[in-house]
Amino acid sequence: MGIERIFGDSLITTKISDVTNWARKFSFFQYPFVTACCGMEFMSAWCSHWDIARFGAEFPRFSPRQSDLLIVVGTVNHKIAPILKRVYEQMADPKWVISFGACATSGGFYQNYAAVQGIDKIIPVDVYISGCPPRPEAVLDGIMKLQEKVTTEKVIDTKYDSIKKSKSKIKKKK
């Protein structure tokens, strides 16, 4: 946020960071960008056997305006890559990205002309969950690792400042 910076790096900002991070990490609103087989394990992790609602991350919001966690589930190929980039850019800060499955992390075992060899060629990723498909326990572990990462964030962080009012790089065809 903006205004807390006037306090500098002091007790007040660390306490504000603690409260903000605690609120954020237990209320992820996910945008599941589901394409392929990992979607089945995504569904399993979200249902009654391996309930993810106990982490507060239950309800998927299928709009980037209402979500802060983009979970890329399944293979991303070159045709859907611009869509992924656009969805990521349309999400409001703060946002995190989880790369779910081997195909999203590194292309999986599809080393060919069609699959993008890892979504970190397109968008920045916070947590990688590997597996083909990952077991739901691995998904829960990934969410917990993301929660640990969120705990270490600071409000005086200047991570998002570089995103100023800028012209988008995609020019329109004449």
Binding site: P82, V87, E89, S168
Partner: protein, 117 residues
Amino acid sequence: MPYLPLLITFLIAGVITLLFLFLSIFFGPKRETDVKVEPFECGMVPFKEDKGRKYPIKFYLVALLFLVFDIEIAFMFPWAVTFKTLGYVGFIEMISFIVVLLVGLIYTWKTGALEWE
């Protein structure tokens, strides 16, 4: 005087709401890019809309009818609360009000304004 606590409740609620709104408008960070402010259309770039496109009138009709009948119901609530004290006179006044709107409802039904197509 007996309604003073109610007034204070509304005032506090209003002040807190406006406070949250204006705090985020003035002190919240705004990081807009070209792509972010465009409408979300499932990740695709939306089609350009032609300027000569007419807006369908059906949406307006539905909204208008809803407004009229909703206000009618809003008038019926205080009447329901004070039903006993108003007696027969109030009952007949209310029935004539409802009958006027009922005639309007039958008219819209028969002329087909309630059909979507």
